[in-house]
């Protein structure tokens, strides 16, 4: 790893911008956030990812100041921000509904926050123009929010919340209202703007693809707790639990019992009368311990004959095929009824499909392809 | 926001106190025994007894009721049609004039409406009586009905009608089988509104009624001009009671229907 790669979370000297210290939030009898601690660093693009009701929005609203923690503290650049009202925080938020003021023009919407700071007229105009340029909205400045498209509204909301140059920008499902194509373009635009302005972004989303694309680190949440906080590639390749593996991307989960087989290598007995599977794991498992094996479909090779050198190979027959254009996913049924997904890239155009329904096939993968998760 | 801030709590309390205290006082003093309305001299229902024996009031009440039933029913039909035209009619010749004639009576001073209708009835030689009051009341209350119904039609999902047409309904059938049942609550509240507007009206009725037909508000007004009287208090209390029972019943019925729908939806969601 070279030193210019941005990884402050690996540096024990780095001072976090935001610290959640044992934060708990209850609404009546319902615990939305359960004794949660988390550090977020300056210039990070941090994603809170989880299903609806997992507490991610509550985290964001606590950062913005619309909710206060029931227990614990939130520290922003060394200062406890619990008593500070939202209008006094150097934190701005981009709302899910965008919350653009319908009675004000785009220009006035962007200037709204600056006017509250009593910014001199010239500076204010310069700042608004700068924001309009940054978000490519110059020609819409005089329009009202209902006179522009959804994608443009999203950019106005972004410009408005960035105008005050906050220490921290919160984005609540910023792309939820856009269609898929526009969403992808906008993701890169967001990253670009984040890089240009050097602002710390915290984004809340339920879309794992979006989180993986934009974020420097992703926190996967469930029921008010953090399941895993790591970079997108680590979340994907090294999920620490079945929940995370299952939530992020597509995965095959095989349940079994592990037996040690030498250095970090284990044998997994997973079904009566089937050859045990081999997998490596850095964490120790005791002999006979229950475990789950998580294998991404794209790491499973499908072939007509048993590959000679394969460490793990099982036989089944093609149950279903999903043609996705760039990829095909094969749903292969094993002898015991389990379905395993295998993905292969369609590298050649209009090639004859190698397999079709009911064909007997072999599935194989290497010892390091699967993640072994102890129960 | 789940809590009421103290400011909102205070303004709501004061506001509702202002709205209700005068009527509560009126009701309390209708049970006053004495002839002097402002001095309490013991509980009694004697004024209600005298009211029941007052033939003039009873006659007027009967006229008022008939006028209200006829005019509100007519106004509901016309007002619903007008609302449909306003929301779904698209462009047609004189649309702005039409919309003006719908909204203007809502704010038009009653003395003007009353005077102009009277002069019309005299001009065409129509004898003043129940018929003329019904015509007059229908005209101004149909506009209220139309506003109530069109506010419901605006939020109505048009694709429901299109689905009905797609499934083979004629436009008239689509209206009868799909639109009408869905906007029915608005139509009913429009009818109720027209009914109470007609019951209440003094000014227009004064202009358009003849000696043969005196309505209750006209009777009350001529009595009240002379000052406060316990008999009028009793009559007012009865009228307030009727309206209160009606409005509360109506709102309970709609509330129960909404609760039922919510429960059904939740049950369906759980069953999934």
């Amino acid at each position: 790893m070279t030193s210019d790669v941005f990884t402050p979370w690996d540096d024990p000297q780095a001072k976090p911008l935001i610290q959640f210290k044992n934060v708990t939030k209850r609404f009546g009898g319902f615990t939305a956030i359960d004794n949660l601690s988390l550090d977020i660093f300056e210039r990070e693009f941090f994603a809170l990812l989880g299903p609806s009701g997992c507490g991610k929005t509550t985290m964001m609203r606590m950062l913005a100041g619309f909710e206060t923690p029931t227990e614990g503290h939130i520290i922003l650049s060394g200062q406890d921000i619990d008593p500070i009202p939202p209008n006094k925080r150097a934190v701005n938020m981009m709302f899910q509904s965008y919350a653009l003021f319908p009675h004000l023009s785009i220009w006035e919407n962007i200037a709204f926050g600056l006017r509250r700071d009593k910014m001199p007229k010239r500076d204010l105009e310069d700042r608004v123009e700068e924001m309009l340029r940054l978000t490519r909205l110059e020609q819409f400045a005089r329009r009202k929010p209902h006179q522009i498209s959804g994608g443009q509204r999203q950019r106005v909301a972004l410009a408005r919340s960035l105008a005050k140059a906050p220490k921290l920008l919160l984005l609540d499902e910023p792309l939820g209202a856009l269609d898929k194509k526009l969403r992808q373009d906008t993701q890169f635009e967001l990253m670009d703007i984040q890089e240009k302005t050097g602002t710390t972004f915290v984004i809340v989303t339920h879309d794992q693809e979006e989180a993986m694309t934009v974020a420097s680190r992703v926190a996967v949440m469930d029921q008010g707790q953090l399941k895993q906080v790591a970079t997108p590639d680590r979340i994907y390749e090294n999920p620490n639990s079945v929940y995370v593996a299952d939530f992020i991307g597509d995965v095959n989960i095989i349940e079994g019992r592990a037996t040690a087989q030498g250095d970090e290598t284990y044998q997994i007995n997973w079904a009566e009368g089937q050859t045990p599977l081999t997998a490596t794991s850095a964490t120790d498992l005791s002999n006979g311990q229950g475990c789950h094996l998580a294998i991404r479909p794209e790491k499973v090779t499908i072939s007509a004959d048993r590959p000679a050198d394969a460490v793990n190979a099982i036989q089944g027959k093609v149950h279903d095929i999903a043609y996705l254009g760039n990829l095909s996913t094969y749903y292969v049924e094993l002898a015991n009824g389990t379905i395993i997904k295998a993905q292969s890239a369609n590298t050649r155009r209009i090639s004859r499909r190698s397999f079709t329904w009911e064909d007997p096939v072999w599935l194989s993968w290497t010892a390091t392809a699967a993640v072994l998760l102890a129960n | 926001m789940n809590r009421l801030s103290w400011f909102n709590a205070v303004s709501l309390t004061l506001g509702f106190a202002f709205l209700y205290i005068p009527m509560v006082i009126l009701i309390i003093f209708s049970f006053n025994d004495g002839k002097l309305v402002t001095v309490w001299s013991g509980f009694s229902t004697r004024w209600y007894g005298e009211l029941v024996q007052n033939e003039a009031f009873l006659d007027a009440a009967w006229v008022t009721l008939r006028v209200a039933v006829f005019s509100s029913t007519l106004a509901t039909v016309l007002g619903t049609a007008a609302a449909y035209v306003m929301v779904r009619g698209g462009r047609f010749f004189g649309r702005t004039l039409f919309s003006g004639m719908i909204y203007a009576p809502l704010v038009m001073p009653e003395v003007i409406t009353g005077l102009s209708l009277l002069l019309l009835f005299i001009g065409i030689g129509l004898d003043r009586g129940i018929l003329t009051i019904v015509l007059a009341h229908t005209t101004f209350s149909m506009c209220f009905v139309s506003v109530v119904v069109s506010s419901r039609l605006v939020t109505f999902d048009r694709s429901l009608e299109e689905a009905a047409l797609d499934l083979g309904c004629s436009p008239a059938q689509a209206f009868r089988l799909v639109t009408l049942p869905i906007i029915a609550p608005a139509v009913i509240s429009g009818w109720l509104l027209a009914f109470t507007l007609s019951l209440d009206d003094l000014v227009i009725a004064s202009f358009t009624s003849g000696p043969s037909a005196t309505t209750l508000p006209i009777k009350i007004f001529s009595a009240v001009r002379l000052g406060v009287s316990p008999e009028i208090n009793a009559l007012s209390t009865l009228m307030i009671a009727v309206v209160t029972v009606g409005v509360i019943t109506a709102s309970l019925v709609t509330k129960r229907a909404m609760m039922k729908q919510k429960q059904d939806e939740m049950a369906a969601a759980r069953a999934e």
């Binding site: - | 009421l4 016309l78 001073p109 019309l120 007012s236």
Partner: protein
């Protein structure tokens, strides 16, 4: 399916014509009704305002006599004049009454707004499950007879009324206040009876408002009060405008309130018109009064109708 193409065309064609007929009928019925019973009467009022008083039935001349043909019509028009309008300008009772009506309506509207806005705001910010009940509590007095609601204040405001009894009892005053039969009583009566008209449109504007707009304003550095002035008030403006029109326009021509709560000093044009008509039986002058009143109201009525139509279209 399987139907001959011609038959499909035919049935569609007939359906289309039928639909057009039905639409025309649907438009025509309410349209003609309103023309005949709302618009035409105004022209009759206008015509009579140009006629002269007469001791006849009906008590004015000329009356249009179509049996005499064209000469009857020209004769009729030649007799119309602006005498009654000249009379309105000469007797200062009338223009004073117009001015005083407009003044009373303006002041009363402002008071109604001041009282109504906080109530509407409180309702819109109340817990959602309370709102239908609060709404019903606002509507309930509105459904109760207008006359009775005005009457209720007669007992409260009179010299020996409940308000004076109460004030004397707590010792704020030593002699009863004269409120009934003054303009103060008229203001109280107007605010009381027209309050729901102010509250309901403002409430519906406030209730529709997205709560996150307020949060956005606070997030961008507004205090609660600034957010209220900069976001809540401008966004409830259509409601405020509608409410003010709904109160002001009818109040200018109000009759019941000034005649029951007002005194001899309370000059309102609705009352003047009533007396011209019923007491003096001067129909042409009453009509002229109505025509001028209508002219005063035309601008606010058109503005009101525009506001309503704009809102309906915005919602669609």
């Amino acid at each position: 399916m399987g139907r001959p193409g011609l038959a499909v065309l035919d049935s569609n064609g007939r359906g289309f014509v039928g639909e057009l007929m039905r639409r025309a009928f649907l438009i025509a019925v309410p349209y003609v009704w309103l023309l005949a019973l709302f618009l035409v009467p105004f022209f009759i009022v206008l015509k009579i305002s140009l006629s002269d008083t007469a001791l006849a039935i009906p008590p004015y001349t000329p009356t249009l006599d179509l049996s005499q043909g064209w000469s009857g019509i020209t004769e009729f028009f030649s007799q119309l004049d602006f005498e009654n309008f000249v009379w309105l300008t000469e007797d200062d009772l009338y223009w004073k009454a117009y001015l005083s009506s407009v003044k009373i309506a303006l002041i009363a509207t402002i008071f109604t707004l001041i009282f109504g806005y906080p109530i509407a705001y409180g309702m819109a910010r109340a817990p959602e499950e309370w709102r239908p009940t609060l709404m019903m509590l606002i509507i309930l007095p509105f459904w109760t007879s207008f006359l009775i609601r005005v009457y209720a204040w007669m007992g409260i405001l009179s010299n020996e009324g409940y308000l004076n009894q109460f004030l004397l009892w707590i010792g704020v005053i030593s002699t009863p206040l004269t409120i009934l039969n003054t303009n103060t009583a008229v203001y109280i009566g107007i605010v009381y009876t027209y309050l729901p008209f102010m509250i309901l449109p403002i409430y519906s504007a406030l209730e529709r408002m997205d709560e996150s707009l307020i949060e956005a304003a606070e997030d961008l550095g507004c205090s609660r009060i600034q957010a209220f002035w900069l976001v809540t008030i401008p966004l409830s403006r259509p409601g405020i405008i509608a409410g003010c029109f709904l109160v002001m326009i009818p109040v200018i021509g109000e009759f019941v309130i000034p005649s029951l709560l007002g005194g001899s000093g309370t000059l309102m044009i609705g009352k003047v018109l009533w007396e011209e008509f019923f007491s003096n039986r001067d129909w042409p002058v009453a009509s002229a009064v109505a025509v001028v009143l209508l002219l005063i109201l035309v601008v606010p009525i058109v503005l009101f109708q525009r506001n309503q139509q704009k809102q309906t279209e915005a919602e669609q």
